[in-house]
């Protein structure tokens, strides 16, 4: 392994580590309010290492959703990583499969963005290890610290914290909606389908989110594919 590019990777990953700090801290806090122990919360960050999935699982756990559905929803949410790692193939130095298999664990939305935007033609394996390691360390460490802080918060603040998860989703979604009609359509359509299942009680929470997500992603893509072919809407 090339030490120099490993250190460069660590350095390039610092912004990711800083970015994870509040998100992991909040995850630890929320895990605490959801009723997970510090070991359970930290273990999830150690073994799963996926922000959106971990946040979603807390919502589903709080709603008593079947574990199989939690895993299924996690899978659907992570399907996008197929795209990223497929794209990353072109960018990474050739390497033995098992070595790639190790740093693949550290591919998140954020580390992907850092790796994919490197100026070099081919990114070194040790650089990828550096980027992955520093982000991962921050994620695990601040999950545990967040849980400890959460245990010492007054009750009124813990009540207010119950909104944090949703506020974070809103904070991630709304800026992407700006000037992007497709994103607006995707979110509104999925929200409406999910609301329909919620109020009719036709599907349980986990299935409703799964169906709403896939239906919206597919239908909106079909609408846009037709548009780009120049077909009239509704044709």
């Amino acid at each position: 392994m090339n030490n120099n590019s490993f250190v460069k990777g660590l350095r390039a990953g610092i912004s990711i580590a800083i970015g994870y700090f509040p998100v992991a801290l909040t995850f630890g806090l929320l895990a605490k309010t959801t009723g997970l122990s510090i070991v359970e919360a930290t273990a999830m960050s150690i073994f799963v290492f996926a922000g959106a999935s971990q946040y979603m699982s807390l919502t589903l756990i709080a709603n008593g959703v079947d574990p199989i559905l939690i895993v299924l929803n996690t899978f659907v949410l992570n399907i996008r990583h197929f795209l990223m790692t497929a794209a990353l193939n072109e960018k990474m130095h050739s390497e033995k499969r098992w070595v790639k298999g190790i740093y693949a664990f550290g591919i998140t939305d954020e580390s992907f963005s850092v790796l994919a935007t490197q100026k070099e033609d081919k990114v070194r394996t040790s650089f990828a290890f550096g980027v992955a390691l520093i982000g991962y360390s921050s994620w695990v460490l601040f999950t545990a610290i967040g849980h400890i802080i959460g245990a010492n918060l007054p009750a009124f603040l813990q009540a207010a914290m119950s909104i944090a998860l949703y506020a974070m989703f809103v904070g991630l979604l709304v800026p992407s909606m700006r000037g992007n009609r497709k994103v607006v359509l995707l979110a509104l359509f999925a929200a409406s389908i999910n609301g329909f299942f919620y109020w009719t009680g036709l599907l349980s929470t986990g299935w409703a989110i799964l169906v709403a997500t896939l239906a919206s992603s597919i239908v909106v893509e079909i609408i846009y594919a037709r548009r780009s072919l120049g077909l009239p809407e509704g044709a």
Partner: protein
């Protein structure tokens, strides 16, 4: 939490790792059809919509107003600021004041 929790973590870990590792190790140089990759790239935004609504309204059982205030504040802050932490901390702050007063 019981044993089911550890099975859930195990399952989540597996289905998170597979999409990360599979293309990187076995799909070198292959391209997905554009419609498939389009649908895949839509998923993060669709799932956010479904995760937010209608659950945001029901964060406090039996207190719809709490959720409605939270939703309005969160969306307002998110329109003003693109910083996620501003949105999260601001919404918590407003609801903390609300919980203290009412």
């Amino acid at each position: 939490m019981g044993a089911w929790y550890w099975w859930t973590i195990f399952g989540m870990a597996l289905v998170t790792y597979i999409p990360r590792v599979f293309p990187l190790t076995f799909l070198e140089g292959k391209k997905l059809p554009p419609v498939i990759s389009g649908v895949l790239s839509n998923i993060p935004f669709a799932v956010l919509g479904a995760l937010i609504f209608p659950a945001i309204l029901y964060v406090q059982q039996g207190n719809l107003l709490f959720g409605v205030i939270g939703a309005v504040v969160a969306f307002t802050l998110a329109i003003i600021s693109t910083n996620v932490m501003v949105v999260v901390l601001g919404t918590i702050g407003v609801l903390a004041v609300y919980s203290l007063l009412f």
